[in-house]
């Protein structure tokens, strides 16, 4: 899966499932502060990522993943 495909899927679920405004989703957007993703959202994100990318997020691997861009990097690493 290439980077564009990953970003398209991530953007889609942020907009559709988490109802985040499209214009807020920029590479440097902070997941918590800018996109308003809270700890309960992360419980749902585990489910959504498993459904879209076929792997399960491990919380320990998410350390330091605090922006949209880093989140896509993390998924890219896992799927490829």
């Amino acid at each position: 899966m290439n980077r564009n495909e990953i970003e398209e899927k991530v953007r889609n679920f942020l907009i559709e499932d988490l109802e985040i405004d499209e214009e807020k989703i920029t590479p440097d957007a902070l997941l918590k502060e800018d996109l308003g993703i809270d700890s309960l959202d992360f419980v749902d994100i585990v489910v959504i990522v498993e459904r879209n990318f076929g792997f399960k997020i491990k919380p320990e691997e998410m350390k330091g993943v605090d922006t949209y861009s880093k989140f896509c990097d993390y998924i890219e690493t896992k799927v490829n």
Partner: protein
């Protein structure tokens, strides 16, 4: 003891999703019953159900507050919004005052079943997501509404089968009467998804008259063949009288009395005329009124032979020869189960406000007991000042409320 009044009401049901729409349906004897094909595919004996529109909450409530809402919490929220609006209670008031919340609810099957299905498939709780826990508990309405409306007062749910909604009003009334609360949002909610009534359908208690859905629910009629499940949400703002006057609220009615009882007989689904009589008597004693003063009885009658006949016997014992007109609005709405005790108070208040008694539709031939009752087969234009509302449930739980129009 303080006086308890009603200053707001709201409804989301199969006969309307606003007070005005419901008034038209009640006055015109309009049925809200239809067929859900999904139930038949799923394996129900009957596809009949109240057809309740789904609320559109996107845009009304932030996603973070919405994600834990079950179907019945959504219905109850819509009703609660209407009730607070009618009572003149806004967001600022709720932030600065202690308002309680007691709702009747006795199941939340869909999220429970979906959770079980996912667990069977994934065997991993990390793949369930965060919503199901808040949707699947019986207190789902309370936990969601209290959070969304920022409520600071009493906060718990009542599970008492088909009397849940009525007991919720009774408990709110008692808390205000005793001076423990000034304002409580009371009500009931009932899910309508195709999962929720399978085990009830198993009893063979549902009407199978799928050829004529609007004629399927026929309480007190000799030729009834069972009840029709239904649902939605109903809410009432109960308030201390002096508190309502002090803030200049419009008072709709006064809750005069609450009566409850348990049958104490064998048979978990067996009704008892003695249990019904004791609940009605206690409510009227609490209200300080005689049966001869009651203008209208909103009967529990669900359209099952045994239940209707037992209630008819109980009503005849107390009200034989009195002026009270009787009807079961379930003839139009179907059986709104956990919500019914609250929605039927809303229906009765609408009749009070507009001077009519709604008809017990589909009553063509009485049976040997219902023939003794003063049943309203058609809409009756008349003043309705004093109402008795009955609700009974599995396990022999009974509730009755006496409500008087406020002049």
């Amino acid at each position: 003891m303080r006086r308890v009044v009603i200053t707001g009401m709201g409804i989301w049901s199969c006969i309307g999703t606003s007070i005005e729409e419901v008034k038209e349906s009640l006055y015109n004897g309009k049925s809200g019953i239809g067929i859900e094909e999904e139930r038949l595919r799923y394996g129900y004996q009957s596809g009949l159900t109240g057809i309740v529109p789904k609320p559109q909450l996107k845009g009304l409530i932030d996603r973070h507050l919405r994600r834990g809402m079950s179907e019945e919490a959504e219905y109850a929220y819509m009703a609660g919004r209407q009730a607070f609006e009618m009572a003149g209670v806004d967001e600022e008031y709720l932030l600065n005052n202690e308002v309680g919340c007691i709702f009747g609810n006795d199941s939340s099957a869909k999220p429970v079943i979906e959770t079980a299905k996912l667990m069977e498939e994934k065997h991993d709780t990390e793949l369930l997501g965060q919503s199901y826990i808040f949707q699947s508990m019986n207190s789902t309405i309370n936990m969601n509404l209290s959070t969304i409306f920022h409520l600071k007062g009493v906060n718990f749910s009542v599970s008492a089968a088909c009397a849940s909604g009525s007991h919720s009003i009774g408990l709110g009334y008692m808390l205000i009467k005793q001076g423990l609360q000034d304002m409580v949002l009371c009500g009931g909610g009932q899910e309508t998804n195709f999962y929720c009534m399978a085990s009830f359908d198993a009893l063979g208690a549902f009407s199978k008259n799928m050829a004529e859905p609007a004629k399927a629910s026929r309480p007190f009629d000799r030729d009834r063949d069972g009840l029709v499940p239904s649902g939605g949400g109903a809410a009432l703002v109960l308030e201390d009288y002096d508190h309502a006057v002090a803030r200049g609220a419009h008072i709709i009615a006064e809750v005069l009395g609450y009566g409850f009882s348990s049958n104490g007989t064998q048979g978990i689904s067996q009704p008892s005329d003695d249990g019904c009589v004791r609940a009605m008597r206690r409510a009227m004693d609490d209200a300080g009124v005689e049966p001869s003063e009651i203008d209208y009885i909103n009967a529990h009658a669900t359209s099952t032979r045994q239940g209707d006949m037992v209630e008819a016997t109980a009503i005849d014992k107390l009200f034989h020869g009195t002026k009270a007109l009787i009807s079961s609005t379930k003839s139009m709405t179907g059986h709104e189960c956990w919500m019914a005790g609250a929605s039927e108070v809303v229906y009765s208040l609408i009749m009070m406000q507009h001077n009519f008694v709604a008809p017990n539709i589909n009553l063509e031939n009485c049976d040997e007991v219902s023939g003794k009752l003063n049943l309203a087969r058609q809409t009756v234009d008349t003043e309705v000042n004093l109402v008795l509302s009955n609700s009974f449930g599995f396990g022999g739980t009974n509730s009755a409320l006496v409500i008087r129009k406020f002049e």
